[in-house]
Amino acid sequence: MKILYQIAIIFSICFVGELISAVLPIFIPAPLIALLLLFLLLETKILKIDNIKEKSDFLLSNMAFFFIPAGVKVIEHVAVIKAIWWQFLLIVIISTILVFFITGLTVTLVIKLQGRMKNAK
């Protein structure tokens, strides 16, 4: 029964997210609205982590599994992949390295700057 309640809570939040996403004039993905909604409920103590712990641990620890069907759909697009495979790999891998470097550098600079401002005080 406990798990059933937890599923109900999380699914209802997702449903409300979809409802809000459908009503809003601009496009905001429903899962993102559900994320913000859940955070708000936790923050305002309306919901406690214990109320949804088992279900959310199940979702968080098996996260990758839920991505399987979305990726299997790629067999419908084999022709596209074949046509651009090397550009695809090049862009995806190089951009990952660059984003890693740029993010790391930015954070390093921010930390240094914060340290300097603290020392100046």
């Binding site: 993102l32 990758a64 862009i91 740029i102």
Partner: protein, 227 residues
């Protein structure tokens, strides 16, 4: 006929779980990120569907049920932020500025390199959200006219390459701070990279999950405004 059996949702769900279990097993045995459980699952499932000439629509009877969990799995990321509130407070500026600059540069780099290699608009829309977690990347991609499956593939290749390269890149760029490592991994390679961050240390893992959530939100907002 026997082929009708495969349209049962139980087929799609069972084959997915078995393929994933094999993937997790091989990943644990080899301890190599190349043996990514997701990639192995794709290879197994796609091979079976092709070999036995089972149509994708039959697999999707079960696949769509698993798909439904993508949204709840994204929503519970809120718990990660809630649990790490103190850590976020202590590192608020590095997290916000780092994920903002990282996400923006990801969009720009992908956009201009696609243009440079003469890829069409559909592929650009499919690749743009490649650095963020799958459900959010899927919504951005489909809303801007991309092919969801190609986005998912790009997201996974991003995650796997981040996972494999992170330890090397940390040494190469001399990113010695735990804060820098965590935020850089989460921003560049979302949840699959985060599993490596967790191996590096508790602080890196926590910051990486926070960074992947922040950069997911930022990318959705940026994509909304600009594309």
């Amino acid at each position: 006929m026997l082929s009708e059996v495969f349209t049962s949702p139980f087929f799609g769900i069972s084959i997915s779980i078995v393929a994933y279990a094999i993937g997790v097993f091989l990943n644990k045995k080899t301890k190599s990120a190349f043996f990514n459980p997701l990639l192995i699952s794709y290879v197994i499932i796609i091979s079976i569907l092709t070999l036995f000439k089972i149509p994708l629509s039959s697999y999707n009877e079960g696949g769509d049920i698993i798909n439904m969990f993508l949204s709840p799995a994204t929503a519970v990321l809120a718990i990660t932020i809630y649990r790490q509130k103190a850590l976020i407070k202590d590192n608020l500026l590095p997290i916000i500025i780092g994920t903002l600059v990282g996400s923006t540069s990801s969009l720009l780099i992908v956009y201009f390199s696609c243009k440079l290699l003469h890829l069409d608009e559909v592929i650009i829309s499919s690749l743009l959200p490649k650095s963020i977690t799958t459900p959010l990347a899927l919504s951005v991609s489909t809303a801007s006219g991309g092919i969801g499956a190609i986005t998912v593939l790009a997201v996974i290749v991003t995650g796997v390459s981040g996972n494999i390269l992170a330890p090397l890149l940390i040494k190469l760029f001399h990113f010695n701070s735990e804060i820098v490592q965590g935020i850089a991994i989460g921003t560049s390679s979302h949840a699959v990279g985060t599993s490596k961050a967790i191996e590096l240390g508790e602080k890196q893992g926590a910051l990486s999950s926070v960074a992947l959530t922040f950069s997911g939100i930022i990318t959705v907002v940026l994509a909304l405004i600009f594309f």
